[in-house]
Symmetry: C2
DNA sequence: TATATTGCTGACCACTGGTCAGATGTGAGC
DNA sequence: GCTCACATCTGACCAGTGGTCAGCAATATA
């Protein structure tokens, strides 16, 4: 008798293997949420998933392969959230705000994206890398198509807007990824600089400038 | 008799200690240049600097403290290069190009900056962190003052421009930090997406949009 | 029930960043 | 010129990491 996908000690069918992989990714998600990128440990993922460390490497090439899969999941969720958000259109400003809010809805997304190229992609086989890039390409093209009308842009302009805002979002996010200094006595100059780099206002202001530039055909 | 700052087995005077610290940072610089962020190892820094690993921890708190010091050095060099570049003014476009070129002059700078908040600052004591933030604050304020006239902006606008372009630069740089896929067969969609995210054109185009927005008072 | 297949395990490897008791270079005082 | 006290320096050591693989054992089939 075949076992169900979740009640088994060995995953033999395709469904069962998919379920195992899913279980590992869920454990990774939980672990990442509380340990962050640097504290992310394969040993703990295994323990959380109820599986030996070696087993992880039957389902993923490397630690970064796990993180890449996690990133793709969360990126797809971001795109869905943005498409479903009715505020993502009326004005450039509300679109920018919705773009930013969707990106921070899952607090793990920006930390992952900010290491996507610099760390994650460097420890993954080219096959998996290309597959991931292709998935992201599809996701962006689909998003551009879905948003073009709402933004009153051509699909090409919408894609330009998405890539431009994407880059801006990544850069602006940096400031929010630093350690929390709220409790500390800060010199006035440091506090001013911190505020100038605060992610949300920096992003929204410049997103509007960029969208205006695109509309003007620049 | 006192030894000179560089000919000594023990650093006892302030000058000698400064020279040791400098020597360690130089070794770190060389090591980073060929190993990159992830491959950066304290053991190797020690070997390159001709010093035991334990000694490194007399001059720096942690690995990230070394990388933070390195980043500050390189950031100051970037600011100098930008101020000295006569092209950094005539038009928005040439300013944006000069901004980008200065940032990539030292190939280690962007890889370091892209991890500054997300990694480096998380493993450094608050004292050192605040000191570093203060130095960066001074650097940005000085740069804004030095460039405001040339850009035809008020100092406040110039600071806005610097922080905005800084964020954009960081985000746009991500794409250039990924692994090199030049030699590979890429599906057409992936290649298109890669080109859309190419750092230089993405940065310059949007930097001009942002500068235009600032001039327009947005 | 016996067998072949193959998913799973965990001891093991080379490495990491960081520590600290003990060795030693060095300048000051005689 | 010698001695000594002190602070700098060292490297074995620690707990941890990501990743491997020979062998164990759950399962589907005959």
């Amino acid at each position: 008798m075949h076992r169900t996908a979740t009640d088994m000690k060995r995953a033999r069918t395709g469904d069962q293997k998919a379920a195992r992989r899913r279980a590992i990714l869920d454990a990774a998600d939980r672990h990442f949420a509380e340990a962050g990128f640097e504290g992310f440990s394969m040993a703990r993922v295994g323990r959380l998933a109820g599986v030996a460390k070696g087993t992880l490497y039957l389902y993923f090439e490397t630690r970064e392969d796990v993180l890449l899969a996690l990133t793709l999941d969360k990126l797809a969720a971001w795109a869905d959230a943005l498409l479903d958000d009715p505020d993502a259109a009326p004005s450039d400003e509300s679109f920018a705000a919705a773009f930013h809010a969707a990106a921070w809805r899952d607090p793990a997304l920006m930390p992952l994206l900010s290491r996507l190229d610099s760390v994650i992609e460097h420890n993954v086989s080219t096959g998996i890398l290309i597959e991931a890039k292709s998935a992201m390409s599809d996701l962006f093209l689909g998003l551009a198509d879905g948003l073009a009308d709402r933004l009153g842009l051509t699909p090409a302009q919408a894609l330009d807007a998405l890539t431009s805002l994407g880059a801006l979002l990544l850069g602006a996010a940096q400031a929010d990824l630093g350690p929390d200094l709220d409790g500390c006595e800060l010199p006035a100059d440091v506090r001013r600089m911190t505020e100038a780099f605060a992610s949300e206002s920096l992003f929204i202001t410049n997103a509007c400038r960029i969208l205006r530039g695109i509309r003007a055909g620049h």
